[in-house]
Amino acid sequence: MELKSVMNRYGLKQKIFSIAPLFGLIALVVCFLAAATAKDLNIAYSMKNILNQSVVVAVIATGAIFIYTLGSFDISLGASACVSALVGGMVYNATGSVTLMFLTCVGVAVAIALINSVLASVFNLPVFVTTVAMLSVLNAVVLMLININGTGSQIAVPTDAVAGLNTTWFKLLVLVLFFAVCLFVFDFTKIGRLQKFLGGNPVCAKLSGINNKRLAIIAFVMSGIAVGLGSFLSITYAPTLTKNTASSVGMDVIISIVFGGMPVSGGARSRIYAAVVGAFSMTFLNQIMVMFNLNSGIGQMVKAVIFLIVVSLAMSNQRNKEILPR
């Protein structure tokens, strides 16, 4: 039997394409290890750096998958992380409690997410529109918080207070636990299943009794929890908080999710692991380029080209479905 026939029969082509980004990540890891060995770098130290650079984006992107699955888009995630971290830092400075700081980070991020989703529901606006407005508001809040705090251009949490949490194991634990919860909700509960269906065809979803507003609010809550966790991890890594804290996170999340193989239109083909795969793939790619001394300009171009290739491959899988007419 022809290979093509066998692949079609068992849906292997479909499965292979769906995990292609994972193969991409493995390829990048292999390239990185080969280059690091050739250049005699400290691999353990480099891997720790990669984890530090990836973990915040990976956590936030994992939560954001719930929003992307609905075919929506949140551009205010970075600003939300910044506000959550600043308020969390202020709470620590006022109370000296890391637990309260953690709860504040999560609470503030969830509150912002809820405002986004409720505004979208009340005004019946596309979520993207409300998040654009929220981005402006949050940027203003950041400046206001720093000014109110009266310490110049930063809010600093004492390094000693969070040093015990700035470890590889703690970050991995947070990532693994949060990913496990999201995986469970996304693939093994009614919530995840309905969200994927709603993203795939909102009209049919409505006629299947699916409440889109409730699901949108749940998606934003999941995303808010992720932003809260991400902002807390940011504080443990860099306790001096400024208006630039998590400034690139918003864009990194978008790139990671798409790079990890998430369909831009959401729907049933959405994969929760896309966020983690994409976040780590981007970091490995950056590290490889740094090792080869590609200056920043060329590096950005190379990233852009690889990004386009990956997205193009992922979309070609969706376009080239062989349709058997009646």
């Binding site: 039997m1 093509k4 026939s5 692949m7 079609n8 029969r9 068992y10 849906g11 479909q14 693939d187 093994f188 509960t189 009614k190 919530i191 299943r193 309905l194 994927k196 269906f197 795939g200 065809n201 009209v203 049919c204 979803a205 409505k206 006629l207 299947s208 009794g209 699916i210 409440n211 729907g267 049933a268 083909r269 969706q318 479905k321 062989e322 349709i323 058997l324 007419p325 009646r326």
Partner: protein, 499 residues
């Protein structure tokens, strides 16, 4: 007189994975004739014609157009060179105007410098719409504002605007009301008179035998037999199609027409624009209530109102005596709704069979109505796939890759699986072959016997007469006539009140 071959397909083979869709098929169609292609879902009719119309390529074989080798690179290329195809599913872009859809990919024709002369485009589009008898559609309207039938007419205008030599009409008429069908029949007649060629695919045996000069039957990707006009015989064609005699009843054979006393669903003085005008009706336990009329008579809206998907401006929809708040409430009361626009309203094409069937039945198998256990879900979906004999590679296959009949079975499976007691079926057998139709009719009858209630909305009068206990004819949002089930009820009885 020797006939001039226009369309020639020789030794064509096409495989989809291990499925052999076409097996050395030969088809010849002549100038000035309407050739019918008929066969069960998946028999290869659409595959063969879609290859000829440039939608996809074949694995082996040759094609000729007016004696010349024919290898269109796309549907646009085929249309430019004289072969147009109207497909079964919706093929318009919703967010642009009717004129832009008609001249899709041809806006350069109306370019003047950097600008597009939209007025000219709209004028030309209106001319084309008028030429096919669809002048009730305004070319400047946004396509999304049109109903399913008018969007289909826009597609027809797009093809006919190119004045094709060969027209393939693939299972289009089932989406249309009588008026829409008449438009297509007129187009086909005119093409035949002008010495052009039409290939007509339909599951409606009466229609295809009425319209066509020759009839070619396909089964499992092979040509079984070609009937000349004087050989047309309904039973012989059916037997060729399914490879055996169609045993058992097609529609139900009884004329009992009895049902329970209990009212399970009702509309009370519902008003909604010109679609529903002070309309009241009752659906009883164990009843098949047929609703017929022209496409714009309001019957499709009626189905949506009863399911809670559309709110009436005044009046109310009730299920088991309680107002239907929304779709979720209707589902809770065991109401199911199979929409007319299957690909948009009934199914998520980009999801698997499993996703589509289980989405409406999660409360049936999810632990504590929340947790999905893969083994339970698999068993639930498998039950529907087996019960409805859905032809698929596995339940993980995307619905977009299924044939029309199998898609419709998935849409049925969504609601039968969760044990719906009341089913609202809007044109449930559209684009479905006679074998599947028979199975669906038997399923409906079995459900009636089990005490379930069915609201059957249909544009096929034979289906309504054949299946309904009670039959309501609607016109302009109002009930014009109610018939009881009886043997002598005929289509002409209905038509009198429809028009």
């Amino acid at each position: 007189m020797e006939r001039k071959a226009v369309v020639e397909i020789r030794d064509m083979t096409k495989n989809f994975g291990i499925t052999r869709a076409l097996d050395r098929v030969d088809i010849t169609v002549y100038a000035g004739e309407i050739c019918g292609l008929i066969g069960e879902n998946g028999s290869g009719k659409s595959t063969a014609t879609s290859i000829y119309a440039g939608m996809q390529s074949c694995d082996n074989g040759q094609m000729f157009f007016k004696g010349e080798r024919w290898q269109p690179s796309s549907m646009m290329d085929a249309l430019e060179h004289g072969v147009g195809m109207i497909v079964q599913e919706n093929g318009t872009v919703p967010g642009i105007t009717v004129a832009e859809n008609i001249f899709l990919g041809e806006s350069a024709r109306f370019r003047k410098g950097p600008l597009i002369r939209r007025t000219e485009m709209i004028r030309k589009a209106n001319e084309i719409l008028k030429s096919i008898g669809a002048d009730h559609i305004e070319a400047s309207a946004v396509t999304a504002s049109l109903d399913f039938q008018d969007r289909k007419l826009v597609e027809i205008a797009r093809v006919m605007g190119k004045k094709p030599e060969v027209l393939v009409v693939d299972e289009t008429t089932t989406a249309l009301s009588q008026k829409g069908r008449d438009i297509i029949y007129d187009i086909m007649d005119k093409m035949k008179t002008d010495g052009k060629t039409v290939i007509f695919i339909s599951h409606d045996l009466d229609e295809i035998m009425e319209v066509c000069d020759r009839l070619t039957v396909l089964r499992d990707g092979k040509i079984i037999r070609t009937f000349e006009k004087d050989e047309f015989d309904e039973e012989a064609v059916k037997t060729s199609m399914i490879g055996r005699e169609l045993k058992g009843d097609y529609y139900r054979s009884d004329y009992d027409g009895s049902y329970g006393q209990e009212v399970v669903a009702e509309l009370r003085q519902a008003n909604l624009g010109d679609q529903l005008k002070n309309l009241s009706l009752q659906l009883h336990k164990g009843e098949i209530l047929g609703i017929g009329g022209l496409s714009h008579c309001g019957m499709h809206t009626l189905g949506k109102v009863l399911f809670g998907a559309v709110k009436p401006e005044s009046g109310e929809a009730l299920v088991h005596g309680k107002p239907v708040r929304d779709e979720a409430y209707a589902m809770k009361e065991k109401v199911g709704y199979v929409a007319k626009d299957r690909d948009v309203e009934s199914l998520c094409l980009d999801a698997s069979i499993r996703d589509n069937i289980s989405v409406a039945g999660l409360d049936q198998f999810a632990v504590s109505r929340f947790l999905i256990l893969p083994s339970k879900e698999k068993a639930y979906v498998k039950q529907q796939v087996d019960d409805l004999s859905i032809k698929c590679r596995s339940a993980e296959q995307y619905v977009s890759a299924l044939s029309g009949g199998n898609k419709q079975k998935v849409a049925f499976g969504k609601w039968t699986g969760r044990g719906s007691e009341i089913l609202i079926l809007d044109c449930p057998t559209r684009g479905v072959d006679i074998g599947v139709k028979q199975a669906m009719y038997q399923l409906m009858y079995r459900m009636k016997k089990e005490g379930k209630s069915i609201l059957l909305i249909s544009e096929e009068m034979a289906e309504l007469i054949g299946m309904s206990d009670r039959l309501i004819v609607m016109k302009d949002g109002e009930i014009k006539k109610e018939f009881r089930r009886e043997e002598k009820l005929s289509e002409s009885d209905m038509i009198r009140y429809m028009i």
